[in-house]
Amino acid sequence: MLTEETKQAILKLQKMYPQKRSALIPALHLAQSEKGYLPKEIQKDVANLFDIDPNEVNSIVTFYDMFFEEPTGKHVIHVCKNVSCMLRGADGLLSRLCSRLKVAPGETTADKEFTIIASECLAACDKAPMMLVDEKVVGPVNENDLDKILEDAKKEAPHYG
């Protein structure tokens, strides 16, 4: 269930736009910030606020990469794998990170601390190889610094809640 606070924030968002449906994607960002993902019942709540079918909301959630339908870890780490980062060692970085956390790309660690995503270009190629740790751009990443980056991330608040 969406909290009353989020509902009010979404209604306010809708009023900013000439047509309220334009607020759907920003509204889903808000809704996702509650639990870190968008379970079916939250999608339904959002659909109600927009007077549209829940399937319409689901079509958006499944299209855009930033929306999750399954629970994520407290921290989401996007590791860029596109060419500029690949040429600077992104593949080694990703595999080192994954083996360190015992996950495959796309998975969440057993302790629910981290979700690792192999990502397309994140527009910070000057920092290659780079990662997006929750909302923060980190790079160029030295593989030997991974432990510290993970420890620092753990000290931060989760990306939701």
């Binding site: 920003p26 958006i60 299209f63 855009y64 929306f67 060419v83 600077r88 527009a123 000057d126 909302e135």
Partner: protein, 425 residues
């Protein structure tokens, strides 16, 4: 030619994202000068005369685009395309994070010129810092009265390369999947909510500020004929100092790469994609090429976003081609079958080659599928997916063939089973 910093002039100054610093550095003078002293029609004409061309990749003359707005429809919109997602492209992030007021000023001028009361900045969802800075800047500009009755809405995307295509962006902004629309009608006639809409890139709009401040003649003198002004070249990949470098259009490729520190120690230049990944690569033969729209088009490549992805002699071109086609496969919106299936098919064939099971026939087939896909899809995504891979095969055929020779039967007709991801059998 040395770097010529106009858009990036104050990029390294602390607090440039605060309005006081921006004003102290000459900010918001263009609004004071133009609104209302210069009429919207005259401002449009000025931008047209300056020769400014779209910096998002297509290079269309900005003032001419503005002029396409029908005069008899009052409801109009401006959309600033800040959904920077082309591989190798990171100039808009810099402009947004380091000098957001410059963009707000450009947006305000453009909205005035086209008569829009609403302007949207469609910002890549992953630009958390940029979105926060832009919202803060809009608030400050509004408080100081620079926006007049204009509403600027900073709108976050949610992760989709295709949302950078202008008509797909409009669908996304209306709250739908980012799938492209058929053109015509062009957005200038029927865009957001079916109303006349101008979509301009971040860097394009930032240029408008300086055209107003310094005048058309000043701007025309920068660069070369038909390619006026500066361009932010983004150099990434295997160079010493990856980063953004602002040069006049028409600067030789070699000079841009030298400014980025050239290759890493002991390595030599092999190839680069000059305009993001969606163009044909250049090789050592092209190092003295003039970086402008026409010259690169004549070379059958493109200036695109001027994002130079550099590969040195250690780069594996088969891996580069595969990685790029995987990108287009992931980002194909799925609307057109040739693009959706073609990108996936080519990834499978490239993966097979990389796994040592490719055939000589595969190279011909990849080119054939690329041609089909580019010719029969709706939007520029498939058109952009073909050249990076085809040009890699044409220029570095030996590298592909070396992989193919690992197959004991490189002449045997390939047997393909569709699987995802590719499984070597």
């Amino acid at each position: 030619m040395a770097e010529k910093r106009i858009l990036m002039a104050h990029i390294n100054e602390p607090n440039q994202c605060e309005i006081d610093t921006y004003e102290r550095n000459g900010g918001y003078q263009a609004i004071k000068k133009a609104i209302p002293a210069i009429s919207p029609a005259d401002l449009t004409e000025m931008v047209k005369q300056s020769g400014l061309r779209g910096r998002g990749g297509a290079g269309f003359v900005t003032g001419m685009k503005w002029g396409f707005i029908p005069k008899n429809i009052a409801e109009r919109y401006l959309v600033c395309n800040a959904d920077e997602s082309e591989p190798g492209t990171f100039k808009d992030r810099l402009l947004i994070e380091k000098d957001p007021h410059q963009l707000i000023e450009g947006v305000t001028l453009a909205a005035y010129a086209i008569g829009a009361n609403y302007a949207f900045i469609y910002c890549r969802g992953e630009f958390y810092e940029g979105i926060a800075r832009l919202k803060h800047a809009v608030q400050q500009a509004k408080q100081r009265g620079y926006l007049g009755k204009l509403e600027i809405i900073v709108h976050p995307g949610a992760g989709a390369y295709i949302a950078g295509e202008e008509t797909a962006q409009l669908n996304s902004l209306e709250g739908y999947r980012a799938t492209p629309r058929l053109k015509p009608p062009f957005p200038a006639v029927a865009g957001l909510y079916g109303k006349p809409t101008i979509i301009n890139n971040v860097e394009t709009l930032c240029n408008v500020v300086h055209i107003v401040n310094h005048g058309v003649e000043w701007y025309q003198k920068i660069g070369i004929p038909k390619n006026t002004g500066t361009k932010i070249f983004q150099v990434s990949g295997q160079v010493q100092r990856p980063g953004c470098y602002e040069f006049a259009l028409g600067t030789p490729l070699r000079e841009v790469l030298e400014t980025a520190g050239w290759m890493l120690p002991g390595r030599s230049f092999k190839a680069c994609y000059p305009g993001g990944s969606s163009c044909a690569l250049l090789t050592a033969r092209d190092l003295d090429i003039s970086m402008d729209f026409e010259t690169l088009a004549a070379r059958k490549s493109a200036l695109g976003t001027a994002s130079i992805i550099v590969m040195d002699d250690s780069a594996d071109m088969v891996k580069v081609a595969t990685r790029l086609m995987e990108f287009y496969q992931n980002e194909s919106c799925g609307k057109c079958t040739p693009c959706r299936e073609g990108t996936r098919w080519i990834v499978q064939v490239l993966s097979r080659i990389e796994a040592g099971r490719g055939t000589y026939e595969d190279l011909r087939m990849i080119q054939q599928v690329c041609n089909q896909m580019a010719a029969n899809s709706f939007c520029p995504l498939a058109v952009g997916a073909a050249p990076p891979v085809v040009s890699a095969i044409l220029e570095f055929k030996g590298e592909f063939e070396a992989y193919i020779r690992k197959n004991p039967h490189p002449d045997r007709e390939p047997e393909m089973k569709i699987s995802y991801p590719y499984v070597a059998v």
